[in-house]
């Protein structure tokens, strides 16, 4: 008697503990091996691009907070850069430093989440996640000091940041940097060389450089594939041309490399934060722009930043009105998802979850 087998199709998500929100993949399994992948998304679609067309330029900032809600500072920054290009203004230097500093703090927070959930999906029962949230909490406290909110910060404005840091911010930042060293060392000790983590992630779902480029992947996922590409270096914005940092590069783009690149980027971000603290000068933090901005009609601008997940860009078209005529968001998570087939097909169910975690998607940004 021959045993008849047939592939099984499983809907992973939209309600699944580890699909990073409401992502859904329809996966056909042969036993535990994945033979076919079909991503389905749009469950968190809120029409941010359309909503931006009926809000004025400052109000759109509140929408950008909610794109990638784990790195709202960087979203603010990308949008404000786009508006500044549209208006052809440049923020004062102190504002540039404050933006760089907060963006890097936010990058640390976002990478902590990415690493924490990556290991959580590997099956570590919450411990690395709690450790990373412990540090992230401190960063959010700092954000609360700056702007009164922890996640949806709305801190930056076209032409600077909304207000200077309060006086108790700087000592608190110093304390954080001091403590974070130890906490980061602890996480690295727990994770970086862990044998189980290594056998689970080394050589799993490698993305060759060609594939990564052809899928126009960006951010840590691209750099893990061995390509030195970082907008902070290629096209420095804000104060990134004033600070020194390295771009960590992986070698073969497997899950471990993506995890490793993020861990190293946390170190580099810390370096940038330290340099910002040392270099920041007193001065104005916001241009004296009116509340309601009216850029010239027919002007276009493309403001991009290296967000924690990749290249985040806002493309704005002005028709002379108080709100953008068109606001296109190039969200890194969505574009990074295009490698999902290369990531998943041929690997096992358990690797699928980990690989999804390794590209660190955020559904707020994917579905916009």
């Amino acid at each position: 008697m021959t045993i008849r087998t047939e592939p099984v199709t499983v809907n992973v998500g939209p309600q699944h503990p580890s699909t990073h929100g409401v992502f859904r993949v329809r996966i056909t399994f042969d036993g535990e091996d994945i033979v076919e992948v079909e991503p389905v998304f749009g469950y968190l679609h809120r029409g941010s691009e359309k909503l931006a067309e009926e809000r004025n330029y400052v109000q759109v900032i509140t929408l950008t907070d909610r794109l990638d809600y784990t790195s709202s500072m960087i979203n603010n920054q990308a949008y404000c850069l786009a508006v500044e290009k549209l208006l052809e203004v440049e923020p004062p230097p102190r504002a540039k430093y404050l933006r760089t500093l907060t963006a890097e703090l936010q990058r640390i927070a976002s990478h902590l989440i990415a690493v924490g959930f990556f290991v959580q999906e590997l099956g570590a029962f919450g411990t690395p996640l709690m450790y990373s949230f412990r540090s992230r909490e401190r960063i959010l406290d700092l954000f609360e000091m700056l702007c009164g909110a922890r996640v949806t910060v709305s801190y930056m404005r076209p032409g600077g940041v909304f207000a200077d840091a309060p006086r108790d911010f700087w000592p608190a930042l110093d304390r954080f940097l001091e403590d974070f060293e130890e906490e980061l060392a602890e996480m690295e000790q727990l994770l970086l060389e862990n044998e189980i983590l290594m056998v689970r992630t080394r050589g799993v779902s490698p993305i060759p450089a060609e594939v990564a480029i052809n899928c126009s992947v960006s951010g840590p996922v691209l750099r893990a594939s061995g390509i030195n590409w970082d907008w902070r270096k290629q096209e420095p914005y804000d104060a990134y041309d004033q600070v020194e940092f390295d771009v960590p590069i992986g070698s073969n783009g497997d899950n471990y490399d993506r995890f490793w690149v993020r861990m190293q980027e946390i170190h580099q971000s810390l370096r940038i934060v330290r340099q910002c603290i040392a270099q920041i000068e007193p001065g104005q933090v916001r241009l004296d722009l009116p509340l309601v901005l009216r850029p010239e009609a027919g002007r276009e601008a493309y403001g991009r930043v290296e967000a924690s997940k990749g290249e985040l860009a806002f493309y704005l078209v002005s028709d002379g009105g108080i709100s953008p005529y068109r606001c296109k968001i190039r969200s890194p998570s969505l574009i990074n998802l295009t490698i999902i087939e290369h990531l998943l097909v041929g690997w096992k169910l358990a690797d699928m979850i980990v690989s999804l975690g390794s590209i660190d998607i955020n559904m707020g940004e994917v579905d916009r």
Partner: protein, 407 residues
């Protein structure tokens, strides 16, 4: 009526049983006394298992919380001690859900089948000197046989749930349980050989030196194997919540879920008790005549803590890696252990086949060396997969990739 318990009965050694039997037997028919005495012990054991499960649930959440730098349950009672009771009340008041298309009878049988072996297992565990319900002379065999029943229950759960995640979990669980049975049995063979008995009571008495020192490798294999059989981290693929929701018990809710959870956490306790008996010397210790139960509880607690500690620290292995770990690492190790112990027993035993404490010490010395050497040898075989290559942030030229123009 003057009832007399046969001295060769498996129940004879239990002091409490004899007392109840004699008291009841003084005014009741013998068969009724036999029944009542049995029921008394069973009542104690069932409650011990379920209460133990509740305590372990609470302890695990509490300790895990502290491992993770948080507090854990702390709302109900002192230190949140009544949390399991609150959970139970919540689960008891839930609707009895059965998924459409499920096999109703099998689905309902699973929780019972999962709890029953646990309670059966406690029958042979010597909680203190002469405190096992039945001092079976084939105790180890009994444990292995009864504990295997749970794999059937898990597969029934996965099959009857009509849920693909449950099926995944069940398939994984059965594969894991079957492959880990082999190294565990081989490691226990060493214990049986040194103790020259399969009765748990005799094994405890044979441990002049705890067997964890005499056979550290066997303990490692036993611990790993039992982690796998209990679906504990890092081998918890059967209910890997980040992958397959809850594995085989995805569809269970309410009181059935409560029973499955009780079986799971009770299982931790029972396995820890078995480990304490087989490897840590059970109730033996200073003043073991009176404080044997305390030593036993202490040692069980240590093993439970080990399980929680592993769960707090380690990520999960993949299913094929778990199988490879069993067949390529644990099985050779247990065989090396068995061979070493066999040779040592053959050469060291006295004329009557018994081993003195000095003999055990010699065995311990040899076996610790053997353990270290074999772990290093087998570690070297998989070295390539787990060594961190040092990498520095640098520009890497990728062949075949067009250079990107920076505008």
């Amino acid at each position: 009526m003057n009832c007399q318990l046969a001295s060769d009965s498996v129940l004879y050694a239990n002091g409490l049983y004899r007392v109840v039997y004699n008291v009841a037997g003084s005014f009741l028919p013998c068969w009724l006394a036999y029944l009542i005495a049995g029921l008394v012990i069973i009542f104690i054991l069932v409650n011990a298992v379920l209460l133990g499960a509740a305590v372990i649930t609470w302890g695990e959440r509490r300790v895990l919380g502290r491992f993770q730098n948080r507090v854990g349950p702390n709302r109900w009672g002192p230190f949140g001690m009544f949390q399991p009771i609150a959970d139970l009340l919540k689960l008891l008041t839930k609707e009895d859900l059965r998924p459409q298309g499920s096999d109703r009878i099998v689905f309902a049988l699973v929780p019972i089948l999962m709890v029953a072996p646990l309670i059966l297992l406690t029958a042979v565990i010597p909680f203190a000197k002469n405190a096992a319900l039945a001092s079976l002379n084939v105790g180890v065999l009994y444990i292995l046989a009864v504990s295997s029943v749970s794999s059937v229950a898990i597969f029934m759960a996965g099959w009857s749930s009509n849920n693909r995640y449950a099926m995944f979990g069940a398939a994984r669980a059965v594969a894991v349980l079957i492959s880990y049975e082999v190294p565990v049995v081989l490691s226990l063979l060493g214990v049986v050989m040194v103790a020259a008995s399969m009765s748990l009571g005799s094994i405890v008495e044979a441990q002049a030196l705890p067997f964890i020192l005499v056979m550290p490798m066997a303990f490692l294999v036993f611990l790993a194997g039992m982690s796998a059989e209990l679906n504990r981290s890092p081998f918890d693929v059967a209910e890997a919540e980040s992958e397959i929701i809850a594995g085989y018990h995805t569809e269970y809710s309410g009181v059935r879920f409560a029973l499955i959870q009780a079986a799971e956490f009770g299982g931790v306790g029972v396995v820890a008790a078995i480990a304490a008996v087989l490897f840590l010397g059970g109730w033996s210790g200073p003043w073991s005549e009176y404080l044997g139960w305390l030593w036993f509880l202490l040692k069980t607690g240590v093993v439970v803590f080990l399980f929680i500690w592993f769960r707090a620290t380690y990520p999960r292995l993949r299913i094929d890696q778990i199988m490879a770990f069993s067949w390529k690492f644990l099985l050779p190790l247990s065989m090396i252990n068995l061979a070493a112990v066999t040779l040592e027993v053959f050469f060291l035993r006295g004329d009557d086949g018994s081993l003195t404490t000095a003999d055990l010490g010699i065995m311990a010395a040899i076996n610790i060396v053997v353990t270290v050497v074999s772990v290093i040898v087998f570690g070297n075989l998989i070295r390539d997969r787990v060594t961190l290559r040092t990498r520095q942030p640098q520009q890497v030229a990728v062949p075949g990739v067009p250079t990107i123009e920076v505008s």
